[in-house]
């Protein structure tokens, strides 16, 4: 069972690494084309919604005035809704599409997937060896504490990779002239990696426990 789990994790790691790296490289080959990055709205007062009027002409409609926008989103009325129901489109995470992208923008925009895929592969290799030692009845053999510490580093690296798309967003906003303090949009903030940090702290504690266990195992090595 443990061997099957180890092989399955390794398979997932290989797939994630290949897919992530290929996706990032594919993005780089699409330089000069469209790039999509995450942004959030700072001031929606000047935003406009593009649409088509009934006669077929393209029109733009301004976003509803401040009172509606203050609710943290763009309010959309629903035809036929009774009792004043409306939709609220959040503006804390929107996708900015920009033509004429550069290679760095494309790579950074997709780089987090490549990094996380490679971390998953490296983690799978470490976990597989850890599981094999446990299966052999030697959980506290030399190297396991270091392997767990390595997995911790990979978890932190994967969490920090979430900053790469933020860099891409800033590059795009800078290129299209929307990176100033007066810009109505700004790069969307990366998710705070609280859960990853908690997992990393737990893994560090586990690594220390395994290190102590290795010392204790050596103490009883040769015990009859």
């Amino acid at each position: 069972m443990i061997r099957i789990l180890g092989r399955f994790l390794l398979f997932l790691g290989v797939v994630a690494a290949i897919a992530g790296v290929a996706y990032a490289i594919n993005g780089a080959t699409q330089a000069r084309a469209y790039v999509e990055v995450a942004v959030q709205v700072r001031d929606g007062g000047d935003l406009e919604v593009a649409g088509t009027s009934p006669d077929g002409t393209e029109t733009t409609v301004s976003v509803l005035p401040e009172p509606e926008f203050d609710r943290g989103g763009i309010s959309l009325s629903i035809p036929g809704a009774t009792r004043g129901g409306s939709l609220l489109a959040p503006t804390d995470s929107l996708e900015l599409s920009s033509f004429g992208s550069t290679v760095p923008e494309q790579l950074l925009g997709r780089g987090h997937l490549a990094v996380r895929g490679l971390c998953l592969l490296a983690g799978a290799l470490l976990i597989r060896r850890l599981l094999e030692s446990i299966n052999e009845g030697k959980p506290f053999q030399r190297g396991n504490a270091a392997r767990i510490a390595g997995i911790t580093a990979l978890v932190v690296t994967g969490a920090l990779a979430g900053l790469l798309p933020v860099l891409a967003s800033n590059l795009v906003l800078d290129r299209i002239g929307l990176n100033g303090v007066d810009s109505p949009v700004l790069a969307a903030a990366a998710d705070a990696p609280f859960s990853s940090l908690m997992i990393a702290a737990l893994l560090l504690a586990l690594a220390e426990a395994f290190r102590r266990g290795t010392d204790m195992a050596q103490d009883v090595e040769g015990l009859v």
Binding site: E221, G222, L223, V224
Partner: protein, 77 residues
């Protein structure tokens, strides 16, 4: 299993002589003591680093001897 120089000891095990005197095999002793033959072999060949009191008690009971008959201290250099 090689001991590092800092952990060498001078305890010698006399199981081979005790077994020969009683015409008993190591396998039979292992069976009666409840320890694996491998572990008793480790003890007999002075490769053990520690012995449980419970194991030493069982060995002495089966062989009808004292701990001092099983283990002794080799004179230092």
């Amino acid at each position: 299993m090689t001991l590092e120089p800092a952990q060498e000891h001078r305890i010698v095990c006399h199981l081979d002589r005790l077994l020969a005197d009683r015409e008993m095999t190591l396998a039979e002793l292992a069976l009666r003591v409840g320890v694996t033959v491998v572990n008793l072999s480790v003890l007999k060949n002075d490769r053990a680093r520690a012995v449980r009191f419970s194991t030493l008690t069982s060995i002495c009971e089966v062989l009808g001897c004292q701990p001092g008959d099983v283990l002794s201290l080799r004179p230092g250099r």
